[in-house]
């Protein structure tokens, strides 16, 4: 594999400095490593060739691994989040989204921050022989290629879907990341990502908005006790979702007073659905027809590709079921 050195960081500050400056005479900056799952995949596929990795696992600050009320540290594993009574009670959507991700092996190692910052799974991106837009090349191969798992919103010129289960769940809980190493102390999750628009900073080449040297230390979120999650998957063992929805509700009796709805696996960023949120206001949980009508709005403005039109059928279903899940109603049995 690649040759690189490993900076066993002793503090977040040390890590931050390292990713801003790097070792002498290196062409590219060092890359932060938490669990390392996504990094190792990229290294093995030959997508990156950094001179140095900066190991966050060696930073012994307990706050990085703690779960508290409305906050968990950046290095908390997905397993810890999924099994945390605190999180499950205060914001079940977060625990559910994470419990549904990947496999037990991955969840034991993958960290919260790593999950937010992981790169897309698009099979053209992950295969180094395709010089795609995201890698500085000239075209998106999904456009006239195999795009059954690609985006139906907000895409173009690159059509990836953002892979994080956690990000949409945090967004419906007004989640934000705590940062060190730059001017910003905090950044809302909704501002953490950008569309692959060449006019935006970062443009197509990156997905998130962190600057060199900025390191996530923790994730904060508001409680969302009435919240739910629903993913549609082709395969129920290890598989990425076809679409999923994260929902948080405020109820008045059996009526939805307000809703937060964010979809995943449908766009290059976690996809907010303000039209659905508006349509759900005042809808009764027991009014199936009204619920369906409100959730159908989810596909407004969708721009499906040649092979992923089916996602338009799935998305309203995922949204509606996440709403029911939030309310503690079994979507399949009532």
């Amino acid at each position: 594999m690649n040759r690189f050195s490993l900076l066993q960081a002793r503090s977040i500050e040390e890590a931050s400095v390292a990713t801003r400056t790097g070792p002498d005479s290196s062409v590219s900056l060092p890359i932060l490593k938490a669990g390392g799952l996504d990094l190792l995949d990229q290294l093995k596929e030959g997508l990156i060739d950094p001179p140095q990795l900066v190991n966050l696992r060696t930073v012994s600050d307990p706050a990085l691994r703690a779960i508290g009320d409305g906050r968990f540290g950046a290095l908390v594993t997905l397993t810890q989040i999924a099994s945390s009574d605190t999180v499950r009670k205060s914001s079940p959507v977060i625990a559910k989204a994470v419990a549904a991700a990947a496999t037990p092996q991955v969840r034991n190692v993958a960290t919260a921050a790593g999950n937010l910052l992981q790169r897309p799974r698009c099979w053209y991106f992950r295969n180094h022989q395709f010089e795609c837009l995201k890698k500085g090349g000239s075209q998106c191969f999904a456009v006239e290629g195999e795009n059954r798992y690609h985006a139906i919103f907000g895409s173009g010129p690159c059509h990836i879907v953002h892979p994080s289960n956690l990000a949409p769940a945090l967004m419906v809980c007004d989640g934000s990341v705590d940062l060190v190493g730059g001017d910003r102390k905090t950044l809302a999750i909704k501002d953490l990502y950008h569309l692959p628009d060449p006019r935006l900073a970062g443009g197509v080449l990156t997905e998130h908005n962190l600057r060199p040297g900025e390191v996530i230390t923790g994730i904060t979120f508001k409680p969302a006790p009435i919240s739910g999650f629903w993913a549609v998957k082709e395969k129920q063992s290890f598989d990425w979702p076809l679409v999923f929805a994260a929902v948080a509700l405020q109820l008045e009796g059996r009526s939805i007073a307000s809703a937060r709805v964010v979809a995943g696996a449908v766009a290059p960023i976690p996809w907010t659905l303000p039209a659905v949120e508006k349509a759900l206001q005042g809808v009764s949980l027991d009014d199936d027809a009204a619920l369906r009508k409100a959730c159908a709005v989810a596909v407004e403005g969708a721009t499906p590709m040649s092979d992923n039109n089916y996602k338009l059928a799935l998305l309203p279903v995922a949204v509606r079921r996440a709403v029911l899940d939030a309310a503690g109603i079994d979507p399949l049995r009532g």
Binding site: M1, N2, R3, F4, S5, L6, L7, Q8, A9, R10, E14, P23, K33, G36, L37, L40, D41, L43, K44, Q52, L53, N55, R57, T58, S60, T79, A82, A95, K96, A99, A100, A102, T103, P104, Q105, V106, N108, V109, G228, F229, W230, A231, V232, K233, Q236, S237, F238, A318, R321, D325, D330, P331, L332, R333
Partner: protein, 253 residues
């Protein structure tokens, strides 16, 4: 650098498959295998620096700031010594920092029970326990296992005394070609450690990170049920499902 290797007939794993000491300064002309009992000198790094893991090294904490600052906390890019604890034995392996835990286990440590199947963490064939947590060793750097207890399939049985899950595997024929078996045994072990009496749902999900191509899942489920002291189905009459019983297995958690 002392060289030692475990000789065992024609299949000794003395070959260091991934060590590339290219700089002359290290004085390495061929890397060492593993000494299970002895000490191996580190390559000019302080033992404290080499032993840093997620669990803080008390020795480092005790050093004065200026000394600590001056300590090299950078490993590599040349091969480094990695003190590891595998199956209860302390051992030191010399490898590049990019070496995965799986490579270290299968190469210098000659523990070939953990298999390389996909090398991308997608199939569970390389699963081991690190501090009791099930992980895919192909997607973990060996250096990240420093300071941790690594348990591989070889560490489960105590001599001829098999772990109960292994005995159940045998009784229920939960294996065919056997290549997925080490990873699945470890996954079952991890599952039972966390859920001593797992439900079928927990079993199905607990093993969902492991692929078996021969098709042994049915018997593995039964092996887990037996090893956890739960009834393995023994009904005489085939039961029949009621007219409509939807599943909530999909979608949510």
């Amino acid at each position: 650098m002392s060289e030692s290797s475990e000789s065992s007939g024609t299949n000794e794993n003395a070959s260091p498959p991934f060590i590339e000491p290219t700089s002359g300064g290290s004085g390495q002309c061929g890397a060492a295998g593993v000494s299970r009992r002895g000490f191996i000198q580190t390559l000019g790094l302080s033992s404290a620096a080499a032993a840093i893991g997620a669990r803080a090294d008390a020795a480092l904490a005790a050093k004065s700031p200026s000394q600590a600052d001056a300590e090299a906390t950078v490993l590599g890019p040349d091969a480094v010594a990695m003190p590891l604890t595998v199956n209860g034995s302390r051992t030191t392996v010399t490898a590049e920092v990019g070496a995965t835990l799986l490579e270290v286990l299968r190469g210098p440590l000659a523990l070939t029970g953990s298999k390389e199947v996909c090398d991308r963490g997608s199939c569970g064939g390389c699963s081991v326990l690190v501090d009791g947590a099930l992980v895919t060793s192909c997607m973990m750097l060996a250096v990240d296992a420093i300071g941790c207890e690594v348990t591989t399939i070889e560490g489960l049985a105590q001599g001829d005394r098999l772990d109960p899950i292994q005995e159940s595997f045998i009784r229920h024929d939960a294996l065919q070609c056997g290549f997925c078996t080490p990873g699945l045994v470890m996954a079952c072990k991890a599952l039972l450690n966390h859920h001593p009496k797992p439900s079928m749902d927990q079993i199905r999900k607990g093993l969902s990170g492991n692929i078996c191509r021969c098709g042994t899942y049915t018997n593995i489920f039964n092996a887990v049920l037996e090893a956890s002291g739960q009834p393995v189905p023994t009904d005489a009459a085939l039961p029949v499902l009621p007219a409509s019983e939807p599943t909530s297995r999909q979608g949510g958690t």
